[in-house]
């Protein structure tokens, strides 16, 4: 590689293997599956190493790849996988609001106290499961934006969609994720706003 940072895949295993495994195990609760996901992550990273431009740290980049693997793993376990027309509008999101445009179901105050690691872990578990429940392309756009930190311009280019389309998909993803997390019973916290 000419311009990117120097990469040594075998040293990744010693430097980041434990952290990646710990994250994967916490999500999938199965040692063998977690090991497989970590191995797949490193192999995917080697294949995509030319894409690593050093904008994020190596660790963040590898975690990004692993998170996609975790979402794929959850999705494979689903009996129904929703595909979605990416050009779809937001009409179906109208149900979140009443005829006057006010919230029909009030957003809750989520239990997500950074001081309580168990709460955070539980939230993260639900988060990845909800992400896997989204229509595949919608989840992909959300993950590109929020997990990989790509700009909407980069996402448009990668998926060949328009900027306005991308923003609608992100809006939809956020609204549906909120709904899923609230259905999972993660609020209210009773914490002060």
């Amino acid at each position: 590689m000419k311009d990117g940072p120097q990469i040594d895949p075998e040293s990744w295993v010693d430097r980041y293997g434990d952290a990646l495994f710990h994250f994967a195990l916490a999500r999938v609760k199965d040692r063998e599956i977690a090991e497989d996901l970590v191995q797949e992550t490193f192999l995917a990273a080697v294949k995509a190493k030319d894409r690593f431009k050093g904008k994020s740290t190596e660790k963040t980049w590898l975690f990004g790849i692993l998170k996609h693997k975790v979402i794929d793993h959850y999705r494979k376990k689903r009996s129904v996988i929703y595909e979605q027309d990416l050009s779809k509008g937001t009409e179906d999101l109208d149900a979140f609001f009443n005829a006057k445009g006010a919230w029909s179901t009030m957003p809750e105050n989520w239990r997500l106290n950074p001081g309580k690691s168990q709460e955070v872990r539980e939230f993260i578990d639900h988060f990845y499961q909800c992400l896997a429940d989204l229509p595949k392309k919608t989840a992909e756009v959300f993950a590109f934006r929020e997990i990989d930190g790509l700009s909407t311009k980069e996402i448009c280019k990668r998926l060949n969609i328009t900027a306005s389309n991308c923003r609608v998909i992100l809006y939809r993803a956020r609204m549906l994720l909120r709904k899923c997390l609230e259905l999972a019973g993660l609020g209210p916290s009773g914490a002060a706003e």
Binding site: E10, V13, H22, L43, L170, R174, M175, R178, E193
Partner: protein, 88 residues
Amino acid sequence: MMNHWMFRCKDISRKVSLGMDAGLPFHERLAVEFRLVMCRYCARYRKQLRQLREISGQIDTDLPGCEPSELLSEECKDRIKEALRSYQ
């Protein structure tokens, strides 16, 4: 044309999401902030979207306190290194 000071919760939900990706014109940003002060549920909504972003970027940092069983075994590390060598 919509009066920006009259944004409804539905409009705010779109604007807040849009603001996280593309930014909003100054007058809209001001109107959104005004509405967020007036509506606690819209303020909660924005907090939720920020929490989603935070969680998306989160990676575990509590490794020092975890059990050896929660770490990758040496045997598995060797196996992965071997797989990486075979691939390259």
